[in-house]
Amino acid sequence: MKVVAEPSAEALAPHGFDFCPGCGYGSVLLALTDVVSGLQQQPVFMVDIGCVDFMTAHMPGDVLMGPHGRTSALASGYKRMQPDRLVCAIQGDGGFMGLGAAESLHTAVRGEQITIIVLNNGVLADTGGQLAATTLAGKATSTTPEGRAPQHGPPLPFLEMLSSLSGVAYAERVAIDSALGIRRVRRAIAKAFDVQRSGLGLSIVEVLSPCPTHWRMDTVQSWEYITQSVRSVYPTGVLADRTRGTDG
């Protein structure tokens, strides 16, 4: 028989990944590795602080960690001086649209020639599941024990906002809630790197990723939650595509 799928994590992490059971971040790491294996050169990764840290040691390329939330600026500085390298910032939603919102926004304004992968799990996971800009209305977190209420505002459609900027050449939101969804993660990342190589501007992939631990659900429920609830607030799809000279 022939091997038809071999996404073994073993090559990346002999003792396995450090994510919680059912965490979508493992799927992102596998997808990323798969995409990179098809590239001519390995990217340089700027890894934010967050559960994404657990990827740091297993990334398919060179890595630098940076202070929480500002990896887009770090990556931009690198890229400006090494325009021939693929540069990828990878961050949680808390870092990307909370703490580092100003840096993310202006990276988009300037249309920096990098790729940002945003892991949107609807909470600040690494610190224990606090309210994030992306937490759905009503959802309980450790800093909103009664649920996200009006005074906390509704979930922030940051990618939609950024997509209106001409510096954003490509923006797609994908979701880890089905086999098909996971394949789309891979495809979106590949596309984002393509866009970066062609020098059209910033490319962003936002991944809706289950965090069963802090969502206080089992893994299967966490997929259903994405399908039924998260996607209705954060619709998946291509939000901006300026690769054809037209706005997405």
Partner: protein
């Protein structure tokens, strides 16, 4: 300073060791002890090594980081080698027979007690409640906390959004507690009472 009972529970985060330690500490406090409880663990959210130190006394329990434990509960190989040497002579090691390699139990100056954690958890109807079984075992072995204190403690340490687990947890505590009461020779318990 009066006598201090110092305990360390080691295991993996996913096993719920920290919750057991907090339960014991809280319950001991309710029963008139003065406890101090501190956990050392890694960066992982779930899984990863953990060691919970618990010192209790009728007066001042001192500091939680110690080199003179009188009781160690080992739920997992992780960090076993770090804490086993810190048991004082005459101390007791209680270990999960499913998870600890008995060939490691080389010290002759301490007592060893194999605990059939998985079996008792199954008996309590919740395969994942080994941590609660261990809490019951320790509470009874040391006399740190009564059944009543444990019941009160449980409502304190279990987060509000997990309140549905309280009764299941208490069932598992009870299995461990009565196991010491009924299955063990008195000698084990008495020597540990503070």
């Amino acid at each position: 300073m009066s006598e201090v009972l110092s305990i360390v529970l080691t295991g993996r985060g996913g096993q719920g060791v920290k919750l057991s330690s907090e339960l014991l500490a809280w319950s001991a406090s309710a029963d008139g002890y003065n406890p101090i409880q501190y956990s050392v663990y890694g960066a992982l959210i779930r899984g990863g090594e953990i060691a919970c130190s618990l010192a209790a006394s009728r007066e001042d329990p001192g500091v939680p980081l110690r080199s003179d434990y009188s009781l160690m509960c080992a739920m997992h190989n992780d960090w076993f080698d770090r804490y086993y040497p810190l048991l004082v002579p005459g101390a007791l090691l209680a270990y999960d027979i499913a998870n600890i390699d008995e060939s490691w139990l080389g010290r002759s100056d301490i007592d060893h007690l194999g605990v059939p954690v998985a079996q008792m958890a199954a008996e309590a109807g919740d395969a994942r409640a080994g941590n609660m079984v261990i809490a019951g075992v320790v509470a009874r072995l040391t006399g740190l906390a009564s059944r009543e204190a444990l019941a009160r403690g449980m409502t304190e340490v279990v987060p509000a959004h997990r309140a549905d687990r309280i009764s299941r947890n208490l069932a598992a505590v009870e299995v461990g507690y009565s196991w010491v009461e009924h299955e063990l020779p008195d000698s084990f318990a008495k020597s540990r009472l503070a």
